[in-house]
């Protein structure tokens, strides 16, 4: 029982990180019908922006902040201008394939730079404390708190500010939004910048748990997409629920069912949800685009 509590809490921590990545995924999809196949590698890369600074003695918070800004510039602005804009007119599929090529490009690039797994400093020192007999790692709690803060800030931005309302309008119906005088293109750009920030934060949160390595993007990308699908692709809260659920299910499954097949659990979850409830557990059914 005590073990189970710990499993759930660490699962919630990784799940919260998945949720951040999945939110970025769904935001890009909603505003610009962009499926970012390199999203997992977008999480892998910012750690390598931050690591050299950390090794050079830059304070933790400053390194993270610069990493987030770099990520917004390169993985947000650069990605949109250099890859998405020229290809988007060709359709969803070429863009998805370009994302796969980008994923190979980024992985190979980092691999050529360093193929090893690097230790990444954690947000707070790793202390365990006991609540009702259960061991709880403070790091997991910190991850959940940070992720929660980011989600709340994002929700505030989307629901309480003018820019947020304009972004939502763009997401719901870009044609009408344009008619209403909303600068749709700028709103789309904002979502790419937000995605850049989200993946950088996720990178800083996840790297202490799984090390910074060129290949971590594969797992993160699949997890983020699964979270987005399971929750519902057209809902930010769906992505959150999907991410948390996936984190917990993954942890419990690997502990109680099969460690050998732990990677199979999210895949099966993905296949089942797509087969039986393609709009996701919380999503509304979308008309099939033909």
């Amino acid at each position: 029982m005590a073990n189970l509590v710990n499993l759930i809490i660490t699962g919630l921590a990784t799940g919260a990180i998945y949720a951040l990545v999945a939110i970025g995924f769904t935001l890009l999809w909603q505003t610009s019908q962009t499926i970012n196949f390199a999203q997992g590698d977008f999480v892998m890369l910012p750690a390598f922006f931050m690591l050299p600074m950390l090794h050079a003695g830059v304070p933790y918070w400053l390194a993270i902040l610069i990493g987030v800004i770099l990520s917004m510039l390169i993985l947000g602005y650069g990605y949109k201008k250099l890859l998405v804009d020229p290809i988007r007119k060709h359709g969803v599929l070429p863009l998805a394939i370009a994302g796969m090529a980008l994923s190979i490009f980024m992985q190979e690039g980092v691999k050529n730079y360093t193929a090893e797994a690097h230790v990444f400093p954690a947000l707070i020192p790793n202390l365990d404390f006991h609540i009702f007999g259960a061991v709880v790692s403070a790091q997991s709690i910190a991850v959940v708190v940070v992720a929660l803060a980011v989600v709340i800030a994002l929700q505030w931005l989307l629901n309480k500010t003018l820019v947020g309302h304009q972004m939502q309008a763009t997401a719901q119906n870009s044609t009408v939004a344009r008619l209403l005088g909303i600068p749709v293109e700028r709103m789309v750009l904002y979502t790419f910048l937000i995605n850049g920030a989200l993946v950088a934060i996720a990178s800083a949160l996840v790297s202490p748990l799984i090390f910074a390595k060129f290949s971590t993007g594969n797992i993160m990308g699949m997890a983020a997409f699964t979270a987005a699908i399971v929750g519902g692709f057209n809902q930010v809260r769906g992505a959150i629920a999907g991410g948390l659920l996936l984190g917990v299910v993954n942890n419990i499954g690997s502990a109680y069912i099969s460690a050998q097949y732990r990677d199979a659990i999210p895949l099966l979850l993905l296949i089942l949800v797509i087969l039986f409830r393609p709009q996701g557990l919380m999503g509304r059914a979308e008309e099939r685009t033909v």
């Binding site: 359709g91 070429p94 490009f105 190979e108 691999k111 699949m222 050998q260 199979a264 993905l270 685009t289």
Partner: protein, 331 residues
Amino acid sequence: MKLSAFAIVASLVVALGLLVGPIFLSDYGRYILSMWIVMSIAAIGLNLTLGYAGQVSLAQGAFMGVGAYVSALMTIHGWPLPVAMLTSALVCLVLGWMLGYPALRVQHHYLAFVTLAFASLAFLIFRNEEWITGGVDGLANIPRPYFLWMATDGSLAFYYYCLGVLGLIALGYYGLVRSPWGRAFLALRENPVRAMSLGIDTRRYILVAFAIGSALGGVAGSLFAPLVQFVEPPAFAVDLSLKLLLMVIVGGSGFYFGPFLGALIAVLLPEWLRFTQGYYLMLYAFFVMLLLVISPSGILGIADKWITDRKTRVASAARAATASAFEETKQ
């Protein structure tokens, strides 16, 4: 007319080159060419599913894996390769048919991820089910096949064996894309709703497209096993599926010769770019992105556009000439 004569001459030259050229190559050169054949077969299958029928699949590498394991296990236990090849094709046909079911419900990126999930699951099974796949140690000592009474242990003999299989498949593929099924695939890709309204059973054709495409993946795998003579799980990890997809896209998805060209580039590029050491995949990925910006229908798409433009120019020049001649006669 002139152009088709050019095409015939070009195909004859290529066919002759494929028949005679390898005699002058080293063992390694023949190995690379045989690998090109294997990858071409798998890419042809994917081109049917993706290029013609418009269904994304990131599982072709997994089908190659299934084919390779089936063929390796059977030939190690003394079965002849053609029997193993047909069995691989049949197993993959059934699996591909089943994988087609999600495609009936979802499209595009959803489908890409479902098939990606399938490929990841297949990799886990190859790795974990040691009792049948040998686990991480893989399966070694896979024999080369006999053709009638002749052993194909030598690199040249086995190359011709592969070439023969490719020839048969290329013929079947040519017939298929021109058959009513091939037309139905195209209709499915271009406009599924209209295809349905014209009475095409889209459900069945999606499943057929997946099944045939996957079966060819199985055939490719069943040649891969005796070529490399060793199968292990990392060879069939998800990146093989990705590479096969990129082959189809680079060559030109939906073009008959697309998979041949795409596979050629993918197999030769690492050899040409060997001097760049670890950077060749980066360069390749960069090239793919650039290509997608310029022409999402691949290299043959560029060639096709160029030919069409030229034809249009010639035709409009001819039209202008007749028009001015007509004006002159009027005066």
